[in-house]
């Protein structure tokens, strides 16, 4: 069973891991939707701590030579192992989600990792209420992936999408004992203008709701 290096995500962004730890975190996050989003957030914040400013290189580096080099997978056995182990873990997680009766709008379930790797997506941060959440959405709109943290533990939450000015339920997910939860749904692409995440006993106007935009 693969374990997520959640406790090392921020340390990576701060440059506070040793080389091997850093490599493991990056290799895992590269194939784990949840950790990739958490790491992206942490990187974005850490990058803002850096002063702006540029310093032109005296001698430019030949990018063609870099692009001609072998890829990491062929050279880095640790990264390769973690990538495969992560993919296996993701498949196991999807089966676990199914067993835990996460509501799926579609009968056809695709492993999110495969969906993410082979398509382009954007992500939206939901704010307000307690906790934080992100919705990763395929550019063509045919799937949604939710990752949330800091919510009420062991609680059912509903994800709503706003389309044509009205909220519609996408699905329900349940948080674990530490208030984390994920959900994955496929659907017919729709023009969306927002997302709302609420405890399942609340509606979209609740002050406990998290919203994007």
């Amino acid at each position: 069973m693969i374990s997520h290096p959640h406790e090392d995500i921020e340390a990576f962004a701060l440059g506070a891991l040793d080389e091997l730890e850093a490599r493991r975190v990056l290799a895992h996050a590269n194939s784990c939707p949840t950790c990739s989003i958490l790491l992206a957030d942490a990187m974005s914040t850490a990058a803002k701590l850096e002063p702006a400013g540029e310093r032109p290189l005296a001698a430019p580096i030949a990018m063609g030579a870099i692009a001609a080099r072998p890829t990491a997978g062929a050279r880095d056995p640790v990264a390769s192992f973690v990538r495969w182990a992560s993919a296996f873990g993701a498949v196991a997680a999807i089966f676990a989600l199914l067993i835990w009766n996460v509501n799926l709008r579609s009968n056809t379930l695709t492993v999110p990792v495969a969906a993410l790797v082979h398509s382009h997506f954007e992500h939206h941060a939901l704010h307000g209420g307690a906790g934080s959440a992100k919705v990763i959405q395929a550019i063509d709109g045919h799937w949604l992936y939710l990752v949330a943290d800091g919510l009420l533990p062991r609680t059912a939450y509903r994800l709503w999408e706003i389309s044509a000015g009205s909220p519609h339920i996408v699905g329900t997910m349940r948080t674990d004992s530490s208030g984390r939860g994920t959900g994955y749904w496929e659907q017919t692409p729709t023009k969306l203008s927002g997302f709302v995440l609420t405890p399942s006993d609340a509606d979209t106007t609740s002050p406990r709701a998290l919203r994007w935009p």
């Binding site: 921020e10 506070a16 040793d18």
Partner: protein, 184 residues
């Protein structure tokens, strides 16, 4: 040359287009070099760190992190990490490390929050960092501005490693939240 959008650049990188790497280099190399130089204070080693960061970008182009984070933040963090790893690998201490060591032991040295404030550029970053609880601010300062690993911070502060990691986690998330508030 047309100025590619960030999404277009990512898309072309994912497809393995070497020209996209050149475009990314043109757009980000000078900033990456400034970041690496700030850490290393050495032109040649800074260039090596930049090269390592772009090599890493190319190697990880089909992973999820580049697409999630975007090329800019990804390169900033990876360049900085590469430079810090070089610093740690170096057998001799750089003058910057010596300054950091002096600051650690010299009672007249500035408060860590001042060091943090000097390192971060904009006012809203400074105020966000200053608003963190002292123990979280200290972790940010040790990790981000003195290049210490989580283990070293734990040892230095005689605090369990898990506690230090948790403080870093909370601190960075609080910073993200505060910076978001400031920007809206």
């Amino acid at each position: 040359m047309t100025d590619p959008s960030p999404a277009d650049l990512v898309s072309r990188l994912v497809q393995g287009d070497p020209v996209a790497l050149e475009d990314a280099y043109r757009e980000h190399a000078a900033r990456c070099n400034a970041i690496a130089y700030r850490v290393l204070r050495d032109e040649d080693r800074a260039r090596d760190a930049v090269q390592e960061a772009f090599l890493s970008l190319w190697r990880h182009r089909d992973g999820l992190v580049v697409r999630s984070a975007g090329i800019g933040p990804w390169l900033v963090v990876v360049t900085r990490n590469a430079a810090i790893q070089m610093l740690r690998r170096a057998a001799t201490r750089t003058s910057r490390e010596e300054r950091a060591a002096t600051a650690d032991t010299d009672p007249s040295a500035p408060d860590p929050s001042d060091v943090v404030a000097a390192g971060a550029e904009s006012q809203w970053v400074r105020s966000a960092i200053a608003a963190l609880p002292a123990e979280q601010r200290a972790v940010i300062e040790y990790a981000y501005f003195r290049y210490m690993t989580m283990s070293q911070i734990a040892e230095r502060t005689k605090t369990p490693l898990a506690t230090i990691k948790r403080r870093a986690q909370i601190a960075l998330r609080q910073l993200a939240s505060k910076l978001r508030e400031q920007q809206t």
